[in-house]
Amino acid sequence: MDTFFKDVFKFKRRVLVVDDEPVNRRMLEKILSPGYEVLLAGNGDEALNVIKREKKVLSVVLLDLLMPGTDGYEVLEIMQKDGELKKIPVIVLTSDTSAEVKSLKMGAADFIPKPYDVADVILARIEKTIQLFESIKIVNATELDPLTGLYNKEYFMEYARSYDRYYPDRKMDAAAVNINRFHALNEIYGRSFGDELLMMLGRAISDYAGRSDGIACRYDADGYFLYVPSGHDIPDELSKVIADHETDDMRNIHIRVRFGIYPDVDREYDVLRRFDCALLACNSIKGDYKERAAFYDSSMHEREAYSERLMADMEKGLADRQFMVYYQPKFDIQGDEPVLSSAEALVRWDHPALGMISPVQFIPVFEENGMIRRLDRYVWREAARQIAEWKKEFGFTIPVSVNVSRIDLMELSFIDEITGIMEEAGITAGEYLLEVTESAYTEDSDRIIDVVKKLRSLGLKIEMDDFGTGYSSLNMLSSLPIDVLKLDRGFIKNIHRSEKDLKMVELIMDIAEYLDLKVVAEGVENEEQYALLKKAGVHLIQGFYFSRPVPAPEMEKFIKERLLYADDRKA
C-alpha cells in the first residue's frame, strides 16, 4: 500500500477549510496551499454547500467547531448521516480537550488543536488522515461488489472461513440464489432494468443475511451466495423478503428466483467446495419452473459434468451438423382415412461420443446459457429449406411447424428473421407454421399478442402448443390470435381409461368449434386413443401411433403415400 501511495499521492488533493475567523482561514491556506488545492468556507452552511458540490473530489475537511449559525458539530452530524459525505474525513479545529473527544465520537477522523501546531505537524496529520481514508476506500472497493454493495466472492469466502473460526460448532447452510432466465430478462427489458433487479435482490439478500445472522455475496452476474446458520427455511423466508423489496414492474413480470441449498455443510470441505455443492443443487433445477429449490446430493456432480460437456460440445455440434432436424407427421383424420397434413420439426443431437441425445436433456441447458437462440435458428432455417426441397421434389407443400419460444417472440428482430428465413428458402408464409407454447402468452401477454397478430397478418399460421398446461382462461383464449390448438399429451395419455379425460377433450372440442380453431392431439400412441379422438372430432393427430419423429428421408415415405392416396382418389 505504501508504494501505491507514493505513486498516487503525487497529485494535489482538495482540502476545505471551514472557519469563521478570516485570520485562521488565511493561516491554514498559507500552510496548505503549496501541497493542496485549498477551498475556504466562513460558516457551516457555506461549508455544506461546498462539501455537497465537491464530495467526489474532496480529500479532507478542516472544520472549526464553534461558529455562528450552523456550527461545526451540526456540519459533522449532517455529514455522518449521509452515506456519501460520511466517506470524507473531517479534522476538527479546536482549542478544547472536551470538544476533541466529543467530535471524535461524532465521527471526526482527527483534530488539530488551536493554537495550531507548527506547519509540518499540521501537514503530517492531514496527509495521514487522507492516506488512511483512501486506503479504506480501496479496501472497500476491492471487497465489495460495486453494484449491490455485497461482498465479492473472494472476500465472502474469506469471511466465511472467519465465521467458521469464530463459530466452530455452529451448523451452517450454504445457499446459492439465481434469477431464472436473467440473460433473457436483460435482453428483453434492457440492461438498466437488469441492474435494478440485481440491486433489488442484493438489498433483499443483504437484509435477509443480516436478520439470519449470516453473510452474503454476489458471485457472478445474477448469482448470490448466502452462508447462514442452519434452521432457516431459506427459500421460503428469503422469497418473502424479496417480495417486500420488489418493484411493481418486477412483480408484473413474475421474476422467479431459484435456490440451491447445501444444508448442514460438511466442515471437512473447504468453503469453496461447499458453495460449489449449493450451486450444483441450484443449477439442477435450471429451466424447471415448477421447482423453486433443490437440495444438494452427491449424484449432482455427475449430472453437472454431463451438462458442462453438452455446453462445451455445442459449438462443434452446430459446425459439424450433428444436430439433426427430425420430422413428426401430423395426420388429418377427418376423412375416412388419415391423410398426411403437415409435420413438426424437432431437433435431435447425434453426438459422436454420447450417441443420440434427447432434447429433454440438452434444451434446458441451452436455454439457461442462451445458446438455444442459435439452435432455434438453425432448426428454423433447416425446416424452411426442407419444405422447399420437398415441394420441388414432390410438387406440393407439406407445411412444417417449428417451435418458437416466448423469448424469441419478444425479440425486436424476430419478425424480420422469420420472413428472412422464408425468403431465403423460397417458401411462402402459408407453408410455414409456428408453434408457441400456451405459457408464452401468460406473461407480458399484450406484447406477445401484438407480435403474433403481426405474424398472422403476414399469412403465418400459429399453433398453440401444450394447450392445457398453461393458464389461459376461456376469456383470454377467445382473444388470442391463434389458428390451431395442440392438446397437451397429458390429456391424451389416459383418454381410453378415464371418462373424465375424455370429457375434457370433448369440452375443448366444443370450445375450439365455437372459436373456429383446428385441434391437434399429440402423443397419440394407440388405436384406442386414435378412435376416441376421431370420434370426439379432433382434426389432426400426431404421435407414435402413426410415427415417431423421423429423419427427412424417412418422412418422405409418408409424403409418397399421400401422393399415392391422392392418385387413388383421382382414379
Binding site: D20, E21, V23, M27, K30, I31, L66, A119
Partner: protein
Amino acid sequence: MLTIEKLDELGCDTSDGLKRCMDDREFYLSLVPGAFDKKRYEALEKKINEGDLKNAFEDAHALKGVLSNLAITPLFDVINRMTELLRAGEKVDYGPLIAEMWEVQKKFEINL
C-alpha cells in the same frame, strides 16, 4: 506601524506565530491587525454588559483562537481568562477584566 520587533517588545511570541505562517514575516504582519479590530472588542463588552454570556463566550472564544494562533500573548492572556469564565457562565464582575482588555488592546492599536 507594528513590526516584529515592536510586537516582541510588547510581549508577543512572534517566533511562535511566524512558525504558523511558514516564517513569512510579511504575511504574518498582514494578519496581525485583524487581532486588534476594535469593533470586535466593543461587541464583546456590549454582550457582557447586557448579560448575554453565551454569545459573549462565542466572541471571546473566537478572539482567543486568533490571538493564540498569532501568539499575541499579552492580549491572549486576558481574553483566555475571560473565555473560561464565560464558558462556565460565571456571573461575576467582568469590569476589571474588560478594563484590562482595553488597556492591552490600546497598547497595540496605537502602534497599528
